[in-house]
């Protein structure tokens, strides 16, 4: 039986269970913390750093998605410093690839776009990099547009942890990191892809999409993926 503890989130005393993360407890208590790489049911990776929070008594900020709650913990989820850093992270993401929202299949349904609006990001202070990225249309049902990928690895984990197909991996390193299909094949040449679409539904942006959708038409449904994952998790 998970034992009950209480923690403070932005001053408010809330109940939590041992083993939960700060992100989970905050979400349960209607204090959503912005995040892009975390998705219910997938193992947290702490990569996007949007969910960083301050824990009283600790000098360093901690990612809410990987930090387990402890009894008596006092967490600050929003203040000027955190907000400033989150805005910078969004700005860095926008400058990193060619996120042209106006012509994106996921326009209006994109987590990056939503996070930018919620955090009040009006522009990017950094230089746009304008990298030359390819679009992979080789799969019969899906498309991969690297220009819109934020390397959150949700697709990688959905495929490996939920579907068990291990089609996706992040290749390269640093700013040259790229989502790769198997051993750098095109998606259409994939040996293991089951065309289940879990990666597409998990993708927070328009990087992975279904064919046949035009601008603004691609809505994502990650919840079923999370439900399958949860089902798998409770098995012994």
């Amino acid at each position: 039986m998970p034992s009950k503890i209480s923690i403070r989130i932005d001053g408010e005393l809330v109940h939590a269970r041992l083993g939960q993360t700060i992100l989970e407890v905050a979400a349960e208590n209607n204090k959503p913390i912005p995040s892009l790489c975390s998705m219910k049911g997938l193992r947290p990776v702490g990569a996007c750093r949007l969910c960083l929070v301050q824990v009283e008594g600790l000098g360093r900020m901690l990612p809410a998605c990987t930090t387990p709650v402890q009894d008596g913990m006092s967490v600050t989820t929003d203040n000027a410093k955190l907000r400033g850093y989150r805005q910078m992270i969004i700005e860095l993401l926008l400058a990193e690839r060619n996120h042209v929202c106006a012509v994106c299949v996921a326009n209006g349904h994109c987590e990056l776009q939503t996070a930018a609006a919620k955090l009040g990001v009006m522009n990017t202070r950094y230089a746009y990099r304008y990298p030359n990225h390819k679009v992979d249309l080789s799969h019969s049902r899906f498309t991969l547009d690297h220009n819109r990928c934020i390397l959150c690895s949700r697709c990688v984990r959905a495929c490996a942890e939920v579907e068990g197909a291990h089609v996706w991996e992040i290749g390269g390193r640093g700013i040259g990191s790229l989502l790769v299909c198997e051993l750098n094949r095109t998606w259409g040449e994939s040996k293991h892809c089951t065309a289940c679409g879990k990666c597409v539904q998990s993708c927070p942006t328009g990087a992975l999409a279904e064919k046949g959708f035009a601008v603004e038409e691609m809505t994502k449904k990650p919840e079923p993926v999370s439900r399958i994952a949860a089902f798998r998790e409770v098995r012994p």
């Binding site: 750093r49 910078m88 860095l92 390269g172 390193r173 640093g174 700013i175």
Partner: protein, 1049 residues
């Protein structure tokens, strides 16, 4: 060969001892990667051949490195009963002579660096013998002073490929003790009590980590040695493993035993082939001897060690990334928790320690924690090995107690910067660390103190930088490194470093704005605070520390578009141009001389510098120190070439025509009026350019003639007044008007000038002599230097005695001494530091000595003794000794009790000058605490609009070219303010010169200006230095390598 009990253990030790101290001579060659890179392989082969040929009975072996990289290859020679003698810079060709010596039971004294009579191996003690009184003990060599070798206890003395030699110096005895005591908790307690902290950089307590692992319950546990050393400039771990692999194994086996773990892994860089090889060999030997594997030392404990070669990703130094790499995955870090002690390699509890941490285990076990905490600082006991590299004389591996002040590393051990340069900063902790400026070299080198300055100790890299290093470029370099090594998982590091690198590149190219600096600062903080792992969290440190401690260098790049170090090529024409306070286009006038276009050369020179003949005689020539030709033989004699150019035109029949051509460059009148206060070099330079811009210029001066210090302080024999008059004439022709005998503050006020002129430039010199307060300064016969020189220049008769003592080491002191000599006196100069610390131009000091002046170094005036008539009769000086290094990087002279009396009847005080600032106070100009006028660093504008100041008024006493540099800069900004247009670039004409790098620059050595023989010149005021002959000037110009030419554009 298996050791199963104490007697077989001791037998192996004895066999090892017999190898270390054989009955015949032993010669070992230091063959770490560093030694091999310096030719040790050939040296070893030469010895081997010699011994084979002669059938000489000698034990020849390879050892690791003793640490003194600058002196490699190192060879140790030992004769029975005698100390080990360490020979340095040994070449293969030396082998025969060395063997001759050995055959005669001698050691080659001329190659000897030091000797080792006995050695504390910590885990053992060896007496090699005594003798050779003339060879210094190793501990007397400056490089080794203050070093304490705990980690490096065996390095360079034993053969790393021979386990018996390792046993002989006590390796594995700590392991044996631990196994016999069979009390793991006690060992962990000892490590905790010793407060041993991880040497990889983070500094977490090793004992506590071990306790976690011991308490973790799991079917399997792992111990990992992190040998993924990847910092540029750091090679401690490589050397430790290469020189003494067994001590690493011993530490790990002990760690395994006390934490209940049976498998150890060494994760070592594949780029360290020799370390990998020696460690593999050591593992095999240890297994063979029963020290590793099943049933170690017969005590029933099993432990295996395997090596895994990493592919060299810097991020794999991060423990979670290293674990992923070991698992065969991409080396990307994962968030902690879970910590490796809970869930590490393959999910099992794991402990990771740095190479150096493992080396500290056996000493603590043998000597106990109390012994360990005696060394180092209370919070950080023990020692740390640093690789001291960069701009120091002695580079190498240095093991010092933690808490040692940084300056001891740089100056005592490292010997300061080579070639008399000034050390500017030290970068500690590699790309994850920061730059510590010279003013803060008192900082103790330990985890906390360095962190306070924004740096880290890291794994022990220590890169020393001097004035030739651009700190912006340093930051850019390290960010480029971490940028390319970022794994790309988290956004702050992946994308943040990419943006930071873009901004830093923009700064080095002169394309950044101040807004970007603010952005860069914010971004760096975000990367530091938000990144997932240590790589990203520390990557901004070089940026943040350089922006904090070297802000002015960033501003120079952005506002003045200048890189003082001359590193950022887009911001400098050539090293000489960059170093010149006037930024003269030196390669251009050299090329024009070379192409035999003397008149154009004069035009080029005089438009860059309106006093070419004067500066050609008296400039401090900073260009000499930067000339790349010095890398081949000696710097090009640029100063004397431009003197030659000027001398050839002034007074020649071509002068009139050329002067007209020069004046023809003048821009149309602007109707703006500029007043300049002070007709010294600063004022003249400003006037020249303001006039060229077409403004109306009037110079006010309290003297009767123009030139300031050039006329009234610099003696005739250095700068004939007739020469100066030529230059003033040309300035007049440019349209500059002079108002003499008019002192601002008396005859005319600053407010009047402000009302009458559109801009006012203040350029008054340092005419107020500093006064030292020592007994006897009130006596008759004590004269300050400047009034003395001024009096002589004006032709006054001065009451100078026969025996003159000059106090000081600057140019005014030397000028006074040489002037006094010419007036027939016997002169002694008293200076409190050493010759190399003298601020005077070195050639001037040498000339003074040649003319008969005596110099007493390391002496400071104690009191001036008078006679009954109140006149000077002698001076008493106290000898000084050199103490600690001060802020200027020179040793501080400390007065001793040793007093010396020198008979004299005149004392000239040349201890510095100051500006008389009273006139400025009344007019509302802001004055700094230092007594200098506050100005904008770039535009030189004062707190009062349209009032500018330059030269000594803002910098304190300086030299002619610096002073003129200010004047030139002020003119540029005054014009910008008056016209609102950037006209500087269009002011000067273009010269078409060859843009081809000379395929064969002249091989001639440097031509020095000819001097009148000392005996002839020392009683006369005629010019002492004649200058270059035409053919010499031409030849000198042909020596230029043309660094101003860029390839590819």
């Amino acid at each position: 060969m298996r050791i199963a009990d104490l007697s077989s253990f001791n037998e192996a030790r004895e066999r090892g001892l017999a190898k270390l101290l054989p009955s015949h001579p032993r010669v070992t060659v230091g063959m770490g990667t560093c030694g091999t890179g310096n030719g040790a392989e050939a040296v070893y082969q030469a010895f081997s051949d010699q011994f084979d040929q002669r059938g000489f009975s000698v034990k020849l072996a390879r050892t690791g490195c003793f640490g003194f990289c600058a002196e490699e290859p190192l060879v140790n020679v030992w004769l029975p009963g005698k100390p080990v003698v360490i020979l340095h810079r040994v070449q293969a060709s030396d082998a025969a002579a060395i063997v001759d010596d050995l055959a005669a039971s001698r050691v080659p004294a001329e190659l000897a660096l030091c000797k080792v009579e006995e050695w504390d191996h910590i885990t053992g003690h060896i007496k090699y013998g005594s003798g050779y009184p003339d060879i210094p003990d190793w501990s007397q060599v400056p490089f080794f002073k203050g070093q304490k070798k705990i980690v490096l206890r065996h390095c360079g003395l034993i053969n790393p490929d021979d386990i018996e030699e390792a046993l002989a110096v006590g390796t594995y005895s700590a392991l044996y003790k631990v196994l016999i005591d069979a009390n793991p908790d006690a060992v962990i307690e000892a490590i905790k009590a010793a407060k041993l902290r991880g040497r990889g950089g983070a500094g977490y307590q090793t004992g506590i980590k071990w306790e976690f692992l011991r308490k973790a319950k799991a079917e399997k546990k792992y111990i990992i040695c992190n040998a993924d050393e990847g910092d540029p400039g750091a090679y401690m771990n490589r050397n430790e493993i290469e020189s003494d692999p067994h001590s690493l194994l011993e530490g790990m086996i002990i760690g395994g035993y006390v934490t209940g773990c049976q498998e150890g892994i060494v994760y070592v860089r594949a780029e360290y082939p020799l370390a990998v090889h020696r460690l593999q060999e050591a593992v095999e030997q240890a297994t063979e001897y029963g020290l590793l594997g099943q049933n170690i030392l017969g005590r029933g404990f099993n432990f295996h060690i395997r090596l895994v070669e990493g592919a060299g990703a810097f991020v794999c130094g991060e423990e979670t990334a290293l674990i992923r790499s070991l698992e065969g995955k991409a080396g990307r870090p994962t968030p902690r928790p879970p910590y490796p002690a809970q869930s590490g390699l393959y999910g099992y509890p794991t402990n990771i320690n740095n190479v150096e941490t493992w080396y500290n285990i056996a000493p603590i076990v043998i000597k106990g924690p109390a012994w360990f905490t005696e060394t180092g600082s209370p919070k950080s006991p023990g020692t740390k090995v640093f690789s001291l590299v960069g701009k120091v004389v002695s580079t190498g591996l240095v093991e010092m107690p933690l808490g040692t002040p940084l300056k001891n590393f740089v100056y005592d051990v490292g010997g300061g910067a080579p070639g008399g340069r000034t050390v500017k900063s030290v970068q500690t902790g590699g790309p994850s660390g920061g730059c510590i400026p010279q003013e803060m070299f008192d900082v103790a080198v330990d985890y906390e103190s360095l962190a306070q300055l924004g740096s880290i100790m890291g794994s022990g890299g220590m890169v020393v930088m001097d004035e030739d290093n651009c700190m912006v470029d340093v930051a850019r370099y390290f960010v480029e490194f971490t940028h390319s090594e970022s794994c790309g998982k988290c956004i702050p590091c992946r994308s943040g470093l990419d943006q930071a690198l873009r901004m830093l590149n923009a700064v080095t190219h002169g394309k950044a704005t101040e807004k970007e600096l603010v952005l860069l600062d914010e971004l760096s903080r975000m990367i530091r605070d938000c990144s997932l792992c240590g790589l990203g969290q520390t990557a901004p440190n070089p940026v943040l520390t350089t922006m904090r401690h070297f802000r002015h260098e960033f501003e120079d790049h952005i506002r003045a578009r200048r890189c003082r170090a001359g590193v950022c090529e887009d911001l400098a024409l050539s090293p000489c141009e960059n170093s010149c306070p006037l930024h003269m286009n030196i390669p251009r006038f050299l090329e024009l001389v070379k192409e035999d276009r003397l008149e154009e050369a004069f035009m080029s020179v005089v438009l860059d510098n309106p006093l070419p003949a004067s500066t050609g005689r008296v400039c401090q020539h900073p260009c000499d120190n930067r000339c790349r030709r010095a890398g081949i033989d000696e710097a090009v004699n640029m100063r004397d070439v431009h003197r030659y150019i000027a001398d050839s035109i002034y007074g020649s029949d071509r002068y009139e025509a050329i002067a007209a051509q020069v004046v023809a460059n003048k821009k149309p009148p602007t109707g703006k009026r500029v007043a300049i206060v002070g007709a010294g070099p600063t004022g003249l330079a400003c006037a020249w350019y303001c006039a060229l811009f077409g403004h109306e210029v009037v110079i006010y001066d309290s003297n009767a003639q123009a030139g300031g210090m050039l006329r009234y302080a610099i003696p005739e024999y250095r700068l004939p007044k007739a020469t100066l008059d030529w230059e003033i004439d040309l300035i007049r022709r440019m349209g500059v008007e002079f108002v003499f005998n008019c002192q601002v503050g008396k005859e005319i006020s600053l407010n009047d000038l402000g009302a009458q002129y559109d801009a006012v430039f203040l350029a008054i010199g340092t005419w107020k002599e500093n006064w030292v307060y020592l007994p006897g300064t009130e006596l008759e016969g004590v004269i300050p230097a400047l009034p003395f020189l001024e009096g002589v220049a004006k032709g006054h008769t001065l009451p100078l005695g026969r025996k003159v003592a000059v106090i000081g080491g600057g140019n005014a002191a030397i000028d006074s001494a040489r002037t006094a000599l010419r007036l027939g006196a016997d002169v002694t100069i008293i200076y409190r530091r050493e010759r190399k610390d003298m601020p005077a131009i070195a050639e001037e000091t040498e000339a003074a000595e040649a003319e008969g002046a005596k110099i007493v170094f390391l002496a400071t005036p104690h009191r001036i003794v008078g006679n009954a008539e109140g006149k000077v009769s002698a001076i008493e000086v106290a000898k000084t000794r050199l103490g600690e290094f001060d802020k200027s990087g020179r040793r501080r002279p400390i007065t001793t009790d040793e007093i010396q009396r020198l008979a004299c009847d005149t004392v000239i005080l040349a201890v510095g000058e100051a500006v008389d600032i009273d006139f400025a106070k009344a007019s509302g100009l802001k004055i700094k605490e230092s007594g200098l006028i506050e100005v904008d660093r770039y535009s030189l504008e004062t707190s009062r609009p349209n009032f500018y100041a330059g030269g000594d008024l803002i910098s304190g006493a300086s030299n002619v070219s610096n002073a003129m540099g200010y004047g030139k800069r002020a003119a540029r900004y005054i014009d910008l303010r008056l016209t609102g247009v950037k006209r500087w670039k269009d002011l000067l004409p273009e010269f078409q010169i060859s843009q081809t790098v000379p395929a064969h620059p002249s091989e001639s050595p440097r031509h020095h200006a000819r001097e009148v023989p000392a005996g002839q010149r020392c009683r006369s005021f005629t010019e002492a230095v004649v200058g270059l002959a035409p053919v010499e000037a031409m030849e000198e110009s042909c020596r230029c390598l043309r660094c101003d030419i860029r390839n590819g554009d």
